[in-house]
Amino acid sequence: MIQLYHVHKRYPNGCDALSDVTMRVREGEFVFLTGPSGAGKSTLLHLLLVMERVTDGQILIGGRNIHVLRDASVPYLRRNIGVVFQDFRLIGRRTVFDNVAIALEIMGLTRKEVERRVGQLLDGLRLTHRAGAYPGDLSGGEQQRVAIARALVNEPAILLCDEPTGNLDPDLGHDIMNLLLDVNRRGTTVVVATHDAGLIERYGLRTLVLARGTLVEDRPRSGRLAPIERGPAAAVGPDPLATSTAATSAGAAAFADIAEEAP
């Protein structure tokens, strides 16, 4: 699903953020991306979202080489990649409902369809009672769930999370992880960037370790996957996405219709 070949990223100030990174994330995988601050985790996520372009090397997402993707096609690529930021990046002047609805509205869905799908997802994430609230009125955990809802509402093939539990207390972080694992079980490829060693240790999933811009370790899944616990503060229900219309329907095929590659 995600393939990097000898990816190099150098910033205009001469700083090498990534050097010769080669890796592959298969469809339906759950991968942690870790390393100390400045290791290149965020840069890697930025490259996957085409917020920045590689200096050298190739990145393939869903089989498409995003290095040669035209600027005009970038939005269509991003629609297949859900993204959750550490600071949530919710729009303060829009309600919870409207924040989640954005991802569908950009696709030109009818208001009715938007209402139906957002309603279902908020219901699944037990956020229905907060639909009319503004992000500023929500707790950190609620904001993170809204951000995840926005990332998932258009059923992307890939979900990228940048420190999704970083701003939350451990219990809430645990809930969010359970939610992400649920999403992954439904077929979405999930990449979680985190520097929380405890979190990685606890779940024993495949972990890519970056240090000073290079991939220093590709630690396979330990096999001792921690059971999905339902902590006492489990705001997320037994199957939060059960009411969602469908799991990630598309997989790699979702990227097939992103046309218009540069010659």
Binding site: R89, E105, G108, T110, R111
Partner: protein
């Protein structure tokens, strides 16, 4: 699926932009309104002035006063010469007595009482009716030159020509046209600057939102359209206000022209074509200004 944003979404977002800075939006709309009103006013004044000049040109006449010493032969020569001029419709020669009679009718009866007959001015005169379709200032200039030529003829005492006033009118209209053009350009430019600035502030205050929209896969068009619509809406509001202002000005000016100058001219500051121009021009000005602002400041 490459579909643009829904109209409902765009209108909701544009309305939110307007609500976000109602005063700035109002100032922009009022600036556009003032600019359009003045441009409209200039356009209509010039249009109507040209119309009036044309009407005046239709009923133009020339009075050629002949010297007392002129013989019948001299008068006949002048008449022949006048008739040769292209566009001379008719000639009417009045003797001294006929002219005096005409003048007597023009004067107040009380004034004439006890007045000696010879005190009333009277002079042989040839009234020349000109069939000049005065479409331009050039026609008037040509007539003036011709009039001067007649004045040079022996036995012509004086030539009274109504077109001298027309010349002045033409000059005024010409100056008004230049001033109007310059003012219109300045006003429209400042109105556009206001819209440009309002949109720029809107873009700045929504930097985060724009970035988020872009990251979740919004196309540049999707992000820009609400700002463009906001600009066009400001222009439309300006056009509507301009229509009201022009309508009020029209009523005020019409009564002024009718009551003070007793001119029963048919004119309008707000003919259908003007309404159409305002409805197109207002939003176009707003759209152009917001497009410039968005193009310059909204990088997606």
């Amino acid at each position: 699926m490459k579909r643009g944003p829904r109209i409902g979404y765009v209108l909701r977002q544009s309305a939110q932009l307007v609500r976000g800075s109602p005063w700035l939006t109002a100032v922009s709309a009022v600036t556009i309104a003032l600019a359009l009103t003045l441009v409209g006013l200039f356009a209509m004044v010039l249009f109507n002035a040209n119309h009036v000049l044309h009407d005046l040109g239709q009923s133009l006449s020339l009075s050629v006063y002949v010297k007392d010493t002129a013989t019948q032969q001299d008068i006949a020569t002048i008449e022949t010469r006048l008739k040769q001029r292209h566009g001379v419709k008719a000639l009417k020669t009045l003797t001294r007595e006929q002219d005096r009679e005409r003048n007597r009718k023009l004067l107040d009866k009380d004034l004439l009482e006890g007045l000696d007959e010879s005190a009333i001015p009277g002079q042989p005169v040839i009234e020349v009716e000109i069939d000049a379709d005065l479409a331009s200032r050039g026609d008037v200039e040509e007539l003036v030159t011709w009039t001067r030529a007649i004045q040079g003829v022996t036995s012509v005492e004086d030539v009274e020509f109504g077109a001298e006033k027309l010349r002045l009118l033409f000059a005024i209209v010409e100056i008004a046209r230049t001033i109007g053009f310059v003012l219109s350009v300045v006003l429209l430019a400042s109105a556009m600057f206001f819209v440009f600035s309002t949109i720029r502030l809107g873009v700045f205050s929504r930097r985060d939102e724009i970035e988020i929209l872009s990251l979740v896969g919004a196309t540049p068009g999707f992000v820009r359209v609400p700002f463009l619509v906001e600009g066009a809406l400001q222009g439309l509001a300006g056009a509507l206000v301009a229509m009201v202002l022009l309508g009020l000005l029209h009523l005020e000016l019409r009564s002024l022209v009718r009551d003070v100058y007793m001119l029963n001219a048919t004119w309008s500051l707000l003919p259908p074509s003007m309404v159409l121009w305002l409805l197109i021009g207002g939003p176009a000005v707003g759209l152009a200004a917001s497009a410039m602002s968005v193009g310059r400041y909204l990088k997606v």
